[in-house]
Amino acid sequence: MSFQLNCPNCGKRAVSEFSFKCEYMERPEADADFKEWGDYIFLRENKKGTQTEWWFHRSGCQSWFLVERDTTNNTDHKSFWYKDLKQKK
């Protein structure tokens, strides 16, 4: 175990219990053009620093949630539900 990730449901658990999915991005509208969908599927910020990303508690409560994580230093991170991302805006 290299660090403990905070699940909004279960609290801190070994990161090996979780699956990382992807950095968070706004999904294009269904009728967006080919280029917009292509960019969404393939291109990434891949940020060296703090980014928001999707995680899944695979060996735990099976929830999907968001994490704001510093990719140079895992210990600084905040976990929250998707609905709270929407409220932030």
Binding site: K35, D39, F42, R44
Partner: protein, 399 residues
């Protein structure tokens, strides 16, 4: 007085070409620009020391048994350049073409390996399928019984594959470039790239600004950050990859062994140490720490293949950054909107073997301002144009 392999120079206020990144790809590009094209007013800018990135941290496995035509031809050119490199650079690179096994543990993987063997042979690359008794003859310590969780069903065997001394490759390209007039600036970090009217004008570093008309980015795991400076978003995710080395044992393993089902690979160096690695860490990260989880999972899987290794001592472990692409093929590309900017990245966990061909073709692209046919498939925008070069089956753990 000791002879230095490369010299320190004052930084000029301008160069013809600035190469960012002092790994094998950046240094090979500088070397072939000087040697093949007579362009020598070049600076290689490295934030730490040369070989600080993946080029000084890899497990040094070379092979060309890829899956696509584009991949096979490119890595074959690279392996052939490697075969003559010690002679050309007058440096002992300890290249041992001892043969490379990719084990198959399921009918699906045997099917993929059989297809690869056929494509390889059609393009003149030596690859064959071996059955378990044939494997056992060449690797007497391997467990081919049906006791392991994933019994061995066969292997793709690639005789020209092998291992090399990776540091020596980095140092000898650096020396070869230096001898031809290239300046290598270590402890120099590129902080911005200057672009005016869609043309490259220079780079800003912590030691001052350098003017130039051509910039080549060869920064592997750091590429997203550099390309952002000119407004380009890449299809990359940076993941750490870990490796370990044991103490030395008498020679017993005479070929490189890879199992993608078990996520492991190993080889034995001339000194007798076992060099071992597995798959990337499962989440992106820009740090280079090694973990106990890696050591545990590696050991468990290794013992399934080679039970005699239950008592080996691990000497050290480390990690390096890998710039993973969605199709497991590299990016070597000009850029439509920024004249004079070139991208060389997407080397993931597999790119050290590509350094000579990458340097050769990148140099040609920079010198002629035109993409050579050999790398035409590796453009940065192929993803959004739906022209992927799928090498996952051949590159994900195989290294």
């Amino acid at each position: 007085m000791t002879e230095r392999m490369w010299n320190n120079h004052e930084m000029r206020s301008s160069y013809d070409v600035v190469i960012i990144g002092g790994g094998a790809h950046g240094l090979a590009t500088a070397y072939y620009l000087a040697k093949n094209h007579g362009i020598t007013n070049i600076a290689v800018i490295e934030q730490k020391f040369i070989g600080y990135g993946g080029s000084g941290r890899n497990t040094a496995i070379l092979r060309s048994n890829y899956r696509t035509e584009e991949g096979i031809l490119f890595y074959d050119q690279s392996l052939k350049l490697y075969e003559d490199l010690a002679q050309e650079l007058d440096y002992n690179l300890m290249f041992s073409q001892q043969g490379h096994f990719t084990l198959g543990h399921s009918t699906a993987s045997m099917q993929a390996l059989t297809t690869r063997a056929a494509y390889n042979r059609a393009l003149g690359v030596n690859s064959t399928i071996l059955d378990p008794p044939e494997i056992k003859k060449m690797l007497p310590e391997i467990d081919i019984s049906n006791h392991p969780r994933y019994p061995i069903m066969g292997a793709l065997y690639h005789p020209p594959g092998g291992i090399i001394r990776h540091d020596a490759v980095v140092w000898s390209y650096a020396r070869g470039a230096d001898q031809r007039g290239v300046h290598i600036h270590q402890l120099t970090e590129v902080q911005d790239i200057l672009v005016e009217n869609g043309e490259v004008r220079g780079v800003k570093t912590n030691r001052g600004t350098i003017h130039c008309k051509q910039v080549v980015s060869c920064v592997a795991g750091w590429s997203s950050e550099i390309c952002k400076m000119v407004g380009i978003k890449l299809p990359l995710v940076t993941h750490p990859l870990q490796a370990l080395v044991t103490t030395d044992y008498k020679p017993w393993l005479h070929h490189v062994v890879v199992s993608s089902t078990l996520h492991i690979y190993l080889s034995q160096t001339d000194r007798g140490e076992l060099v071992c690695g597995n798959g990337i860490d499962h989440y992106p990260h820009y740090g280079m720490r090694s973990t106990l989880g890696f050591l545990e999972s590696y050991a468990a899987h290794l013992l399934e293949l080679f039970p005699i290794l239950h008592n080996v001592t691990v000497q050290r472990q480390w990690a390096g950054l890998c710039d993973m692409t969605p199709d497991y093929s590299p990016i070597i590309s000009m850029v439509d909107d920024v004249d004079g900017f070139y991208i060389n990245c997407g080397w993931g966990t597999w790119g050290f073997k590509g350094s000579p061909a990458s340097g050769w073709n990148t140099a040609q692209m920079v010198a002629e301002r035109k993409t050579p046919d050999m790398i035409a498939a590796f453009r940065h925008d192929r993803y959004v144009k739906n022209r992927l070069v799928g090498e996952k089956a051949a590159a994900s753990v195989g290294n």
